[in-house]
């Protein structure tokens, strides 16, 4: 048993790695586009090159992948010769600082030919002083310095030679400025250490928005799930018990119709009925910064849409499973030995009829995730799905990759759980 679970776990890990490589390679195969998306379509090739270099996009793919997975602060630490530390400011921005020997945090900027150190003391005070001793001589009589700049890069400045750089200004987007260094390492801790990087679209760490979005999606999916499961299983059992009856035809054909219609069409129909014609519910889920449970009215239509789609699917599986169980010899035996109908159904049939649907539902999570994306887009619900779509359309890799990995983790994780549950419920397939 343990060997089986370990094997499945190993497969899960393998899938994750494969998927992460695939997502990364496909998404980042055309880095030129991100610069155009961020800076506008009319940038010069030099500007594009500067932006790409500044964000480390000029590195070979495998280097970028490694940095994305495992981070690159340890590389920068070696170059700078100081330990690095990431802090979170009061405004919720993440900043990288080098740690001086006396424990103070320090970073630098270049002002003309002078290197200016910025020191952050523990009480939040920033002081600046000229720190020209740190320049190190290299060939041709030039001087260089590896340090941390104010935009979370480990950078190499060369005295007297500066380049164009782009700075993200809150509310204005990416702005051009001068005084830029020669080489950049955009600092990150790496995905496996919990830092998926900075979103190009917002200039903020992906982590910040990702978790809120994920929470919203979980609320949406969870509510739908809690409503769908008992309802669909119950209706499926009823339909399966009365195979071929009018009620069964009605339930299974109706269920099929709801489950095959695309989510966006269902969403449009429901919006038209409940918010345009009847005027009962809001047609869009405008949450702002509040959590979904603070505005439950906004949740009703998205949840209803998801419910209808999933209802039909689970209902049909439960029905098929119930029909099969009711035809099996042990049910016939139970009837023949004179047990009352109710007892046969509830004590013998239902328990076995529920095995298949429960595991199949777990495998259905892939589809459910798709449904969530569409439903979120239809109703403007700020969840993970909508976030993924926005990131994909913008080519905001860091956000896209992080969202994708979470989605895959959810999908593959539930499949693992389904497998394990299934081996407990059905010992015949154990060790398969």
């Amino acid at each position: 048993m343990i060997v089986f679970i370990l094997r499945r776990f190993f497969l899960l890990l393998l899938t994750m790695i494969l998927v992460s490589v695939a997502v990364f390679v496909i998404a980042e195969s055309s880095p030129g586009n991100i610069a155009k998306n961020v800076l506008g379509a009319f940038i010069s090739p030099e500007q594009e090159a500067a932006f790409i270099r500044q964000n480390g996009l000029d590195q070979p793919m495998y280097v970028r992948y490694l940095h994305w997975i495992a981070g690159n602060d340890w590389i920068a630490e070696k170059k700078i010769n100081m330990p690095l530390k990431r802090i979170t400011t009061e405004e919720d921005f993440e900043e990288w600082w080098a740690v001086r020997k006396d424990g103070a945090l320090i970073r630098w900027k270049v002002d003309g030919d002078d290197l200016v150190a910025i020191v952050l003391t523990e009480d939040g005070e920033k002081t600046e002083y000229i720190d020209n001793e740190r320049w190190e001589a290299i060939e041709d009589g030039k001087q260089e310095f590896w340090g941390i700049d104010r935009q979370n890069h480990a950078v190499r400045w060369v005295k007297g030679e500066t380049e164009t750089m782009f700075v993200f200004v809150m509310g204005k987007g990416w702005m051009e400025s001068s005084g830029g260094p020669k080489d950049y390492i955009p600092l990150k801790k790496g995905f496996v250490r919990g830092d998926p990087g900075i979103s190009f679209r917002t200039g903020r760490p992906v982590n910040k928005s990702l978790w809120t979005r994920l929470r919203n999606s979980v609320v949406l999916a969870g509510t739908a799930f809690v409503i769908v499961m008992p309802l669909a299983l119950l209706l499926g059992l009823i339909a399966g018990l009365q195979e071929g009856s009018v009620r069964d035809r009605f339930l299974s054909v109706g269920g099929m119709m709801f489950s095959v219609v695309p989510e966006f069409a269902t969403g449009i129909f429901l919006t038209l009925i409940f918010s345009v014609w009847l005027g009962w519910l809001p047609g869009a889920a405008v949450l702002g910064t509040s959590a979904p449970w603070e505005k439950p009215m906004m949740l009703i239509l998205p949840v209803l849409t998801l419910t209808l789609i999933e209802l039909g699917y689970i209902l049909r599986i439960t029905r098929a499973s119930m029909v099969e169980v009711m035809k099996s010899p042990y049910i016939r035996t139970a009837f023949l030995k004179g047990l009352p109908y109710k007892k046969v159904v509830f004590k013998h049939a239902v328990k076995n009829a529920l095995i298949a649907p429960i595991t199949v539902i777990m495998l259905h999570v892939n589809w459910l995730l798709g449904g969530i994306v569409i439903v979120e887009v239809v109703f403007g619900y700020p969840g993970l799905g909508a976030y993924l779509l926005e990131s994909a359309l913008y080519k905001d890799f860091n956000a896209l990759e992080a969202g994708a990995m979470i989605m895959v983790l959810v999908a593959v994780g539930t499949q693992l759980v389904a497998d394990i549950i299934y081996t407990f419920l059905n010992p015949r397939i154990r060790y398969a």
Partner: protein
């Protein structure tokens, strides 16, 4: 000898077709599905003769209108006739695949998606099932990994990587379809492989490819046909979804999904029609296909 085999085949085929027809007639549900599907195939085939407008013709004097005598289903936000866009949209789904501005192939985008998926999936399934061993293991593990990725994510990533166009929609649909078809064909192959006529072919010294494609593949057609019918439904579903997310056909072309996405913005300002009609169209076509496939499956099970 070969002639005899052929006549036998023709006979069984004829019987099969009449069987099929009898099945259709006896199942009311399948008939309803068939009527809906045929309606859409008809309007898609004869789209140019069913409307005085073209799908791109804008009437800036009459944007966002409800149904009227000139425009039976109303107009969209640029004053384009919704009925026209709807039936040309059906054309893209079922009848033509616009490869580029001047070239289009017969057979709709959804159909092509399924056909390409069938070709690749069946080949992989046949190879895996017939050859077995490490090839099978490798192919199946890779397909498992692919199946583990949420479908929507595959769509997103594929379109991000290769951009939005009809051909890319076909690629997206087929990549998503391949693992399922390969699994189905593989399981059928594992069963058929043990039959005597395969043993006979092997003894005759036929090549592995001959056995796979001439001996095994034709015998897997029953389940594959029903599966393909459901898959066309999925493909239309997927096309709509891609279009709705802005990942489908490029803008001016009449694509149901993107029509809904555009029309959605005007629902709350009082013109529900631009979003309603394409939603209804896609819903009815998908439901029709599923009714048809369901009816056939149920009836053919009853006959067996």
């Amino acid at each position: 000898m070969p002639e005899k085999v052929e006549t036998n085949n023709a006979k069984t085929k004829k019987v099969r077709f009449t069987d099929m027809f009898a099945i259709l007639l006896s199942s009311k549900i399948a008939m309803v599905g068939l009527v809906i599907v045929l309606f859409w195939v008809f309007v898609a085939l004869f789209a140019p003769y069913l409307t005085p407008y073209t799908p791109y013709e804008q009437d800036w004097k009459a944007p966002n209108q409800g149904p009227s005598a000139e425009h039976i289903l109303g107009t969209d936000e640029l004053g384009r006739d919704l009925w026209t866009r709807l039936i040309y949209g059906a054309r893209v789904v079922l009848v033509v695949l616009p490869v580029s501005e001047n070239i289009s192939l017969p057979g709709g985008t959804a159909i092509w998606g399924v056909v390409v998926a069938l070709l690749i999936g069946a080949t992989l399934g046949l190879i895996g099932g017939y050859k077995g061993g490490w090839i099978d293991e490798l192919v199946m593990r890779l397909l498992d990994a692919m199946m583990a990725i949420p479908v929507i994510l595959l769509y997103l990533i594929i379109v991000v990587a290769i951009g939005a166009s009809a051909v890319n929609v076909v690629i997206a649909i087929s990549i998503v379809g391949v693992p399922g078809i390969a699994r189905l064909v593989r399981s059928l192959t594992l069963d058929i492989k043990t039959r005597e006529y395969i043993r006979a072919a092997e003894t005759r010294g036929e090549s592995a490819w001959f056995i796979m494609f001439v001996e095994i593949l034709p015998n897997t057609r029953g389940p594959i046909i029903i599966d393909a019918m459901l898959r066309i439904g999925y493909a239309i579903f997927a096309m709509g979804t891609l279009g709705f997310l802005g990942l489908g056909m490029p803008p001016p072309s009449p694509d149901w999904g993107s029509m809904v996405a555009k029309g959605r913005a005007f629902i709350l300002t009082g013109n529900p029609y631009a979003a309603l009609w394409p939603s209804l169209a896609i819903a009815s076509l998908v439901v029709g296909l599923n009714l048809l496939a369901d009816g056939i499956r149920e009836e053919s099970m009853r006959y067996q």
